[in-house]
């Protein structure tokens, strides 16, 4: 027992570990925040991307000291308290080694406070960023100003959008095996295979699927929303930089999941309006033949369950019908 006391006086290991830890943490945190932080993907192309970058950096700055602390402890123990080293004192058991109320209680308090603060911060960010670019289901409770009006008008076919109007632009994302199609309800509901968005505009993505579950992931826009059949999954963001971005499917959707990607561009508001009106006019004949704009579409008979389940529109139900031959109206 006396051995233990004299050791404690010789080197205060705990204090030493703490000093090294503080020094390392401060240095690494500063290096990360100023050198790496501004470059953390996916950049700042939209409000949600910027907010999420901030979130990531704050989590990292808090997480890094934890990472450093525990690893430093392990490394310190591995080198200092090694049985192979000649001067390593014997381990000391007994009541003092069984536990230490003060240490235990402070550990619990500190970890709990950090964790609850992190959760609180995450919730604030989620609400402040209007869902942070994540899918919010058909009835989002956090949305940008004017989103509900724009969405309602889009469905009624009365939606408008013009440069400098500060209107929310609803865009529909239709996922199917294995491509994304985009519909612009405010411009007559035309379909496009490339996603063009105006700069400095709040966008409401309405994501749905025609067959299996996909996930619409506009990487640089920091938008991700699962595409579910017969569900409208809404995600908001606000563009703030011009540039190209990539869209990938991030939910396994079968054979060509890996090849399910395309590209999009954020252009100036004037350029967008020009593109949208020209495309609307050029596609008018085709758009007429499309299903009327809706939040969801009954899956095609060749979709996920096509040919296997009786078609939803077969009436009267006939079990001998060759399933799937009938297309939905």
């Amino acid at each position: 027992m006396s051995n233990e006391n004299s050791q404690g006086e010789e080197i205060n290991h705990f204090r030493r570990i703490v000093y090294i830890w503080i020094a390392l943490s401060v240095v690494c945190d500063l290096l990360f925040w100023f050198l790496v932080g501004p470059h953390v993907p996916p950049g700042r192309m939209t409000s949600s991307a910027q907010g999420d970058q901030l979130d990531f950096n704050i989590l990292f700055v808090i997480g890094l000291p934890v990472l450093i602390g525990v690893s430093e402890w392990l490394v310190y123990a591995a080198f200092n308290w090694n049985a192979k080293k000649k001067d390593t004192p014997e381990s000391v058991g007994g009541p003092r080694a069984w536990g230490n109320k003060r240490v235990e209680v402070s550990w619990i308090i500190v970890t709990s406070v950090v964790v609850v603060c992190l959760a609180g911060f995450g919730i604030i960010e989620l609400v402040a960023l209007q869902g942070a670019g994540g899918g919010e289901g058909p009835n989002p409770i956090w949305y940008p100003h004017g989103a509900i009006q724009a969405e309602t008008a889009a469905l009624a076919g009365t939606g408008t959008w013009s440069p400098n109007s500060n209107d929310v632009l609803p865009v529909q994302v239709i996922a199917q095996q294995w491509k994304f199609t985009y519909r612009y309800p405010t411009f007559g509901g035309f379909e496009s295979s490339e996603l063009i968005l105006p700069d400095d505009t709040a966008i409401a993505f309405n994501v749905t699927s025609l067959d299996v579950i996909h996930s619409f992931w506009a990487y640089q826009l920091e938008v991700k929303a699962d595409a579910n059949p017969l569900e409208n999954n809404v995600a908001f963001t606000r563009t703030q930089q011009l540039g190209n971005f990539v869209v990938r499917c991030s939910e396994l959707c079968g054979l060509w999941h890996g090849a399910m990607f395309n590209y999009g561009t954020v252009v100036s508001q004037a350029a967008f309006e020009k593109w949208a009106t020209t495309t609307e006019a050029a596609n008018a004949a085709n758009t007429k033949n499309l299903a009327p704009f809706a939040w969801t579409y009954v899956p095609d008979a060749n979709g996920a369950a096509g040919g296997y389940y009786p078609d939803g529109n077969v009436t009267p139900y006939s079990p001998t019908e060759i399933y799937g031959s009938k297309q939905p109206s």
């Binding site: 997480g63 709990s112 994540g134």
Partner: protein
């Protein structure tokens, strides 16, 4: 031949001969006669043929089957009858059938010799060894598939496999590994060492224990059979309606998970009942070894979470065979239903894979640190806390799915709360190492690695739990790296720590230390080199389960792939070590090579068939390391002490 394994309520005083009831049982050698793996294979094969014929007979006339070109009902019945045949062939159903027919069941014969490892054996030590081999077969199969995945990802444009083959490899890899990981510690080490650690002679339900292994091995056959039915494209998560759309390989997935979940339930409640009821006299809850705490927490999860998987699997099977529409939105079902059910099981499942690892580490650290486990109660509380909270976090897998988005703050909070009890485990480890005199044997190195790997895995989990950050990292390589860090870096490293630690007790032969060190260092280094770059790959935008990716990510992917091949090679060293030190040049291990105070080490090596000559009476709590004058752990009864075992009283100071 009848042996009562009841434990005496009071243990006789010293000097009395062992009473009649613990006399050694009569053992029989039967060679190749009777029921064994061979008959199981034959019956399984016959069952398969019968089921397939039956399925074609009853179902091939229906138009939706005739049109599909594939008869899912035939596949399902074939697999069902195969499993049934397998169980009949191995003899798992002899006892229940005899009882059902009103006959007195013949007592199972206790086979001896090497053939017992190929039979339906009720000895938990035999089942434990069977499980070791079983999970290693699972693990190496899944590992080879992982090598195939990394080969394909060497180049974004040059493809080794077709997209079709690739997605099937990915799915098979994920599913096999998940099935393996849910049993990797509970099966081999839990079954083998829980009775030894709590001073019991056997498990509470030996037949159910043996059943859990043989259904687990049938699960392997079923899930492996998917490859012969064209595989399945859904990954291990099996999301509907892709599941509904998939070919008959999907039946293997659904039915495989269903029967694996039966095995998990069986193993879980058997372990829970054993731990609750079969503890030796004196082993109060505050004296239960920490590994046993981790197993009881895991057992609770196994018992409560697996039924949900079973139900989910059965719904999927019905959807695919008889056209119910549980998961088909346009016919009144919901694709969200599968997601909810699957993750309601799936999240407790990931703690099923984490907790036993914590238990092993907590058990091994004190032995090599020569110090008591720091804050034992906190460790146990942490495990129970993790187990409880794990039922309240499942929707964090569905943050972007559009399901219940208003609940995201709650699930964010619960998910982050779970890092508090997980943090307890780190406190315990750090406290135990503090001012210890650490011996770096192979198991200890693996334990230190668990802390390091799980630290990274756990910290990355905090990023995933944060909804805004989750938007980027969900469904990408970041999350892939996260769960490989926790499951492989945590659980699998802990499993190898446990194997190196306990194999000398299980087989009576030492493991070669030099090969063990090579295995550890190659596995540790290449594990980190494989998976750490994947965090970056994920942040740079690569989704999971893709056969092609952005060209600028090729360098990182190649680095990861080459490291993965070397990681795979590190397991060859392990196999070489097993071959060398267990078969080619075995070296006898002393009964307690690590100077552990654990109860399991105090009995003789090889372990007598009923473990302890007498049920020990536990005198104190475990982990009195480096404590002169500490009370002995247990009273074994003087005369029946095994030779070569140091008497418990000398365990007070084991390090000279």
């Amino acid at each position: 031949m009848t042996i009562s394994a009841e434990r005496p309520t009071e243990v006789d005083d010293k000097g009395v001969d062992p009473p009649e009831f613990i006399a050694q049982p009569k053992l029989r050698r039967h060679g190749l006669l009777g029921q064994h793996l061979g008959t199981a294979i034959v019956c399984g094969f016959l069952g398969y043929i019968l089921g397939h014929w039956l399925g074609n007979y009853v179902a091939s006339g229906y138009p939706y089957i005739a049109n599909s070109g594939q008869n899912s009902i035939a596949v399902l019945l074939a697999l069902m009858f195969m499993v049934l045949g397998w169980l009949i062939g191995i003899g798992a159903l002899n006892y229940p059938f005899a009882k059902m027919l009103g006959r007195e069941a013949k007592g199972e014969v206790e086979y001896q010799g090497w053939t017992r490892y190929f039979r339906y054996n009720l000895d938990h030590k035999v089942v434990g060894i069977q499980y070791v081999v079983g999970v290693l077969v699972f693990f190496f199969t899944g590992g080879l598939l992982a090598m195939a995945i990394r080969t394909e990802l060497l180049n974004p444009t040059v493809h080794v496999f077709s997209a079709d083959t690739y997605i099937k490899i990915v799915s098979e890899h994920g599913t096999i590994m998940m099935m393996m990981a849910s049993s990797v510690v509970v099966g081999p080490l839990g079954n083998y060492f829980v009775p030894l650690m709590i001073g019991a002679r056997r498990m509470a339900y030996p037949r159910i224990e043996a059943f859990s292994f043989w259904i687990f091995s049938a699960g392997y056959l079923v899930i492996f059979s998917a490859l012969f039915f064209g595989g399945f494209p859904t990954g291990w998560t099996g999301y509907a309606p892709l599941q509904t759309q998939a070919g008959p390989g999907m039946i293997s997935y659904l039915f495989g998970f269903a029967i694996i979940s039966i095995g998990m339930m069986a193993a879980g409640f058997n372990l829970a009942v054993t731990i609750i009821n079969y503890r030796a006299p004196g082993m109060t809850w505050s004296r239960v070894p920490i590994f046993v705490w981790s197993i009881i927490a895991t057992a609770a999860l196994l018992t409560l979470a697996s039924p949900v998987l079973l139900a989910a699997g059965l719904f999927g099977i019905l959807d695919k065979t008889v056209q119910t529409a549980f998961y088909v939105t346009e016919h009144g079902g919901s694709s969200y239903l599968w997601e909810n059910l699957f993750w309601f099981f799936g999240h407790p499942e990931v703690y099923i894979m984490a907790l036993p690892g914590f238990g092993i580490v907590g058990e091994i650290l004190p032995v090599f640190a020569r110090k008591p486990l720091f804050a034992y109660r906190i460790a146990a509380a942490g495990m129970i806390g993790v187990a409880l909270l794990s039922f309240f976090v499942w929707q964090h897998h569905l943050f972007q799915s559009g399901i219940n988005p208003d609940m995201r703050p709650l699930f964010m909070l619960t998910t982050e709360l779970i890092s508090i009890p997980t943090g307890f485990i780190f406190l315990v480890g750090m406290g135990t190492l503090y001012k210890a005199k650490i011996r770096y044997e192979v198991p200890m190195l693996f334990c230190m690695a668990v802390y390091f790997n799980f630290l990274i895995g756990g910290m990355s989990g905090v990023f995933l739990s944060d909804v805004p950050v989750n938007v980027t990292v969900h469904g990408g390589f970041f999350v892939l790296s996260h769960f490989h860090y926790t499951i492989m870096g945590g659980l699998i490293f802990a499993f190898f720590a446990g194997l190196y630690f306990w194999l000398p007790k299980m087989t009576g032969k030492k493991m070669n230390k030099k090969l063990g060190l090579w295995h550890f260092w190659t596995m540790f280094v290449f594990f980190n080199l494989t998976f750490f770059p994947m965090f970056v790959i994920g942040l740079l935008g690569q989704p999971r389960r893709v056969f092609t990716y952005a060209k600028n990510l090729q360098t990182l992917n190649d680095f990861s792939s080459i490291s993965a091949f070397l990681l795979g090679a590190s397991f060859l060293i392990f196999v070489a070590n097993i071959m060398w030190s267990q078969f080619i040049s075995p070296e006898k291990s002393p009964p307690n090579p690590w100077d552990s105070l654990g109860l399991e080490w105090q009995t003789a090596t090889p372990i007598p068939i009923y473990n302890f000559e007498r049920i020990p009476v536990i005198m104190t709590d475990p982990y009195h390391y480096s404590e002169p004058g500490a009370p002995a752990l247990a009273d074994f009864g003087e005369k029946v002490m095994a030779p070569n075992t140091s008497p418990p009283s000398s365990s007070t100071s084991t390090d000279q």
